[in-house]
């Protein structure tokens, strides 16, 4: 196309400017600041003295940091793979339905995803309430002992994980459904004519063709669960042993409760790098795994 490069560049500059300004202010600048803060002993507001890499050196021997890292990993393990499986199963079920029925059922599964986390918390806190929660009434009916689900140490993280899966699956379900819909129906008809049974069809047709979506869902949930904070924070109201301590929570405590931004920033940098490394790595891994199939 006949274009005038200089004029294009000017127009582009005007078009890109608003975003770029926000991007620099809200993203690039704070990132640089974060790294710089992590080398100081700054409080939340105000400057601190340069302390070199001290904040980083303390991390390996900081039991709370270790707990936070461990709990984060635990939470990721509890949510990512189970969440992916749950979403896939639901999507497979929903994809068999048609028309309005499908839309309605999908809406039921998806609705939690669009709710604010605080609403999710209030609802589940009520459902799981040890005295009045409906789940406990159900346990009573079934003759199971009541379990103080969000209050006990063993159940806390799994409970938050279940709520998280319930809350976020809608998104993965949609992606899986889109993936399933993009498999042409003729492929299934061809398989039917090829005498493939239900299981063969799933294993040899659906699963391999869905692999790109599966790995996408996996990646997205891995990245987002590494950044877990909201649910854990809300469910820990009332004080908890360290079983609630995840990385972002730890950053929050150090910076906002203990007024130690320097130390918090060091953890933030670690988290920052962790998320990037993990997402890049696993994206590559999944691609390899998919490619070999």
């Amino acid at each position: 196309m006949l274009t005038n490069r200089r004029k294009d560049a000017w127009i582009a500059a005007v078009l890109v400017a608003p975003f770029l300004a926000i991007y620099l202010l809200v993203f690039v600048y704070p990132t640089i600041q974060m790294v710089m803060t992590s080398f100081t002993d700054a409080p939340l507001i105000g400057d601190g003295a340069f302390v070199g890499t001290e904040n980083y050196e303390r991390l390996p021997s900081d039991p709370r940091f270790r707990t936070a890292a461990w709990n984060t990993a635990y939470f990721v393990a509890l949510t990512v793979i189970p969440g992916t499986i749950v979403a896939l199963a639901i999507a497979l079920g929903v994809s068999r339905l048609a028309g309005r029925m499908q839309a309605a059922i999908l809406a039921l599964f998806f609705l939690p995803y669009i709710l604010p986390v605080s609403v999710v918390y209030l609802i589940w806190d009520w459902v799981l309430n040890f005295q009045f929660g409906i789940l406990m009434h159900l346990f009573d009916l079934l003759g199971i002992d009541r379990v103080p689900i969000t209050k006990s140490r063993d159940w806390f993280m799994p409970a938050v994980a279940v709520v998280t899966i319930w809350w976020t699956s809608g998104f993965s379900i949609l992606l899986f459904l889109a993936g399933l819909r993009s498999i042409p129906p003729e492929i299934y008809e061809a398989a039917e004519l090829d005498n493939a049974g239900r299981w063969t069809t799933f294993r040899r047709i659906t699963w391999p063709l869905l692999w790109p979506v599966t790995s996408l869902v996996f990646t997205i949930s891995l990245i987002s669960q590494l950044k877990i904070f909201d649910q854990v924070y809300l469910f820990s109201q009332g004080g908890r042993p360290n079983d609630n301590l995840v990385l972002v929570y730890y950053i929050f405590q150090r910076a906002f409760q203990q007024n130690q931004s320097g130390r918090a920033a060091a953890v933030a940098v670690v988290l920052f790098i962790l998320v990037i490394v993990v997402s890049v790595l696993q994206f590559q891994l999944l691609r390899l795994a998919g490619g070999r199939k």
Binding site: P43, L44, I45, P63, N129, F130, Q131, F132, P148, K151, S152, R153, D154, Q237, G238, G239, R240, P241, N242, F256, Q257, N259
Partner: protein
């Protein structure tokens, strides 16, 4: 016309009383001063918010503060000291307060807040049930209030009588249980901090004793487990729990329900003596003026704030209907106050009150409080051995 922005954390029945007080103040000061009040989530959320807000100059003009937390606040530079002129302007002074109360707001000879009340915890009981179970004595008080064995017997009797929870405890909330446990430590003269060391000597054992009693009750099914604050109140008021350990601030809830005819006969007494002698943990609500970073307070505003505090002190008799014990002695000395029920029933405990250690590490949601309450929930609900909990607590406290 001044607007005084006010933050507190009064959520329950006392919150409603405070609203009435504020409304009255606003009415009496129409055209001069308006209080613009909000109530934030109690505990860590409240203090985190105050702390960050003050750091960026966004805190309220006057805030309610736990006296126990004042040393920490002073260290963080969150509060403005009250000058002699301030006291004068308010018409209040050292003489108006009990020495312990005065000390609680003083750090290095400098006052940082105006005490408003002291608020211990008490034992609420359901007279109807206790009577039916035969554990109500001739004075209409629960039996077995003088020993561990005695009180446990009372609980067992209630259990046998078919009561679901003889004792309602806020076992799901370590923050709350700090009060009960600290009280029980006090009954053994236990101390948290001695010469900068935590749980030194036999103090650890005393903490363990305190935890054991409660854990034992849980084991025997005498106490509600994993119960959060509203559930505890609901269990008691619905008759599922025969007794309840809770703050005096729940008194208005009971009186209100009684007034509506929706409640049984009830009473409140000082905590039972489980160990050596009576002792009850108490803290004090006080009014403080935040040191808003980078924001100078105008003299007019300060005058208005002082007027608010002073007015509140002078009208704290009404606050007593919220269960609390007013800090202003001319109020507690009044005949009206002396006649109030059920306050009179537990007024004896004022002599047995103990406060937090005076340290920046102490106080509601302070580091000590935080560490300890963290381990209470698993211990009180049978997930963790008291000895183990004491061990963890000692380690973590000493790492602070």
């Amino acid at each position: 016309q001044e607007t005084v922005v006010w933050w507190d954390f009064l959520g329950g029945g006392d919150g409603a009383r405070m609203k009435q007080l504020i409304d009255r103040f606003n009415q009496e000061h129409q055209g001069e001063i308006t209080i613009d009040a909000t109530t934030l989530e109690w505990g860590m959320p409240f203090y985190t918010r105050v702390q960050t807000a003050a750091a960026v100059g966004e805190a309220a003009d006057v805030i309610m503060y736990h006296a126990s937390r004042i040393p920490l606040a002073v260290e963080q530079g969150i509060l403005q000291p009250l000058t002699a002129e301030d006291w004068q302007a308010m018409g209040l002074g050292q003489d108006d307060y009990a020495p312990a109360t005065w000390d609680a707001v003083t750090v290095e000879d400098q006052q940082y807040a105006v005490p408003f009340d002291t608020h211990p915890i008490v034992l609420y009981f359901n007279k109807d049930i206790l009577e039916a179970a035969g554990v109500l004595d001739e004075n209409g008080l629960p039996m077995g209030m003088d020993s561990r064995e005695g009180f446990t017997e009372t609980l067992r009797a209630l259990k046998e009588h078919g009561v679901r929870f003889p004792l309602g405890s806020v076992t799901a909330d370590g923050n709350f249980m700090f009060r009960t446990i600290y009280s029980l430590m006090g009954q053994q003269d236990g101390e948290l901090m001695t010469d900068g060391e935590f749980l030194a000597g036999d103090n650890g054992e005393k903490l363990e004793n305190a935890l054991s009693v409660l854990a034992e009750w849980t084991d025997e099914g005498l106490q509600s487990t994993y119960t959060d604050y509203p559930a505890t109140v609901a269990l008691f008021t619905s008759g599922e729990a025969a007794m309840m350990i809770n703050g005096v601030w729940e008194v208005p809830t009971m009186t209100d329900l009684s007034a509506q005819g929706q409640l049984f006969e009830w009473g409140a007494v000082e905590l039972p003596v489980i160990f050596d002698h009576p002792s009850t943990y108490a803290d004090s609500h006080a009014f403080a003026i935040p040191a808003n970073r980078g924001r100078e307070m105008a003299p007019e505003k300060r005058a208005a704030v002082l007027e608010v505090i002073s007015w509140m002190a002078n009208n704290s008799l009404f606050w007593a209907t919220a269960g609390h014990i007013p800090a202003y002695e001319s109020v507690t000395a009044s005949a009206e106050y002396q006649a109030m029920e059920p306050n009179a029933t537990y007024s004896s405990l004022t002599q047995n009150m103990i406060f937090d250690p005076r340290s920046p590490l102490a106080g509601i949601s302070g580091p000590i409080f935080d560490v300890m309450s963290t381990y209470f929930v698993p211990t009180l609900n049978g997930e963790m051995e008291p000895a183990e909990a004491v061990e963890m607590i000692r380690d973590e406290l000493n790492a602070l």
